[in-house]
Symmetry: C2
Subunit: 307 residues, 2 copies
Amino acid sequence: MGALRPWARFPLLVVGHLLALGIGAAVFQALEGPPALRLQAKLRTELAAFQAEYGACLPPGALEELLGTALAAQARGVSSWGDGSEAGNWDLPSALLFTASILTTTGYGCMAPLSAGGKAFCVVYAALGLPASLALLAALRRCLLPLLSRPGAWVAAYWRPAPARAALLRAAGLGLLVAGAFVLLPALVLWGVQGDCSLLEAIYFCFSSLSTIGLGDLLPGHGRGLHPVLYHLGQLALLGYLLLGLLAMLLAVETFSELPQVRAVVKFFGSSGPRTAEDQSGILGQDELALSTLPPLAAAPEQTPTC
Amino acid sequence: MGALRPWARFPLLVVGHLLALGIGAAVFQALEGPPALRLQAKLRTELAAFQAEYGACLPPGALEELLGTALAAQARGVSSWGDGSEAGNWDLPSALLFTASILTTTGYGCMAPLSAGGKAFCVVYAALGLPASLALLAALRRCLLPLLSRPGAWVAAYWRPAPARAALLRAAGLGLLVAGAFVLLPALVLWGVQGDCSLLEAIYFCFSSLSTIGLGDLLPGHGRGLHPVLYHLGQLALLGYLLLGLLAMLLAVETFSELPQVRAVVKFFGSSGPRTAEDQSGILGQDELALSTLPPLAAAPEQTPTC
């Protein structure tokens, strides 16, 4: 790999990514194509059976029209079955959850603006709110990362591993902590609380929320006729989970991106010309890494900022 | 604002954000509550009318069962109306689009894994693919940002604004370019090509895709009975748009986060103790900013890496 011409590395990385995209698509196609076709076939069979049995007394197109309205309404987030447990679609906890899903860019999509004013406000709110959230996260990072490195310092004082290994252990520890506390634990809670989803589905939901992918195909408690108070408590719990979990995940990503090993990989693929002035400068802070500039543990400031 | 005690600034920022979350939720509730209730009422009226007219010849619950199946299928991304234009839900362009929506964390949700294997693969693929994508973006940044600063250098040489203003102009220029080329232009194209969505809806879709929110309530061309070739071309165009647009947006965000004004705001809210060693170091590279470490234009390396 080291013998690769510099100019060849970056295109190779891009090609590798496009290949990974294609391979992922092929695997999803193989895994998901048959179940989707089976579900579609089942639905069509039911429709045909319904038409066959009762089509005589229905005018042509009446059923399709009704189905069309119901499906279109659901696509806009409006459920066909209304009962007391969901007092309107846009009660305050639901609106808070929607707003948080915008600000964390998760975007579940189970609720979405219907009106032109709502769509316009959505764009403006996100255009202003996302940069503000990024600034908040940057400020949070300044406070929290030094605190997080303390456990690492204790471990280092006890075991005295080499600095590179210390950084790797610290990052791995933080990664395991975040995965355990913010994916596995909430998934276990969700699985215990909701009777009808498997542990895998709970993990899938937590991971999809935390990574801000937010597919929104499984939303806990949705439309199950729960007691309103429980349902709203669940929504507020999800809200807190989204906000805290995103923060934890970003801190973990930052910590990993500081690792010398990661920086070396980025540098390997990213600079293809002769060594530049900054490569030779050697000051870690000047290393062009997408996410982090925190000086390494050894050079930590003597006074920790108190937030 | 400068008179604020240091320890008060950060909590103030957090409180401000929570307030903004609450205010956004209230505005959405006001804008969206009534339309959602109206749509729900309309749907219920249609259901009731249908039952009243034809309920006599339908056994009780038969209609609800059929509707339930159709709605559940749609929630899983399977459409009730199948015709030749969408040969299966998971054809290769659709699978590619889904995979790209995972890797860019957009996560539209109109297609989602049904099977346990698909969900598990989704988690593993994202857990591996997202860090790899971040590394790719970091490497890309090393190559592209110096290239992007060249126009800024020409402008600076011609007008000779003050350095801080030059950086601001450069960032604003890049922001306008990204907004124009990656939000407005694609929105205009989409609006022209699709007859039944307004310009606002097109802008809303482009913005939601680019910011990776990905609500997925409007997806171009979906289920409109387009010619298959056109539909797939449209999907591939959307795929390219997602990947390139995300890159452009991240570069713009990086450029803005380098601005002295932005760094000052982050520092103001982020460090509350006495000035630390790094505050006094003065090397911009050591400034703890979430996203960027690129040295400012004045200190740009003499040799631009050739990708």
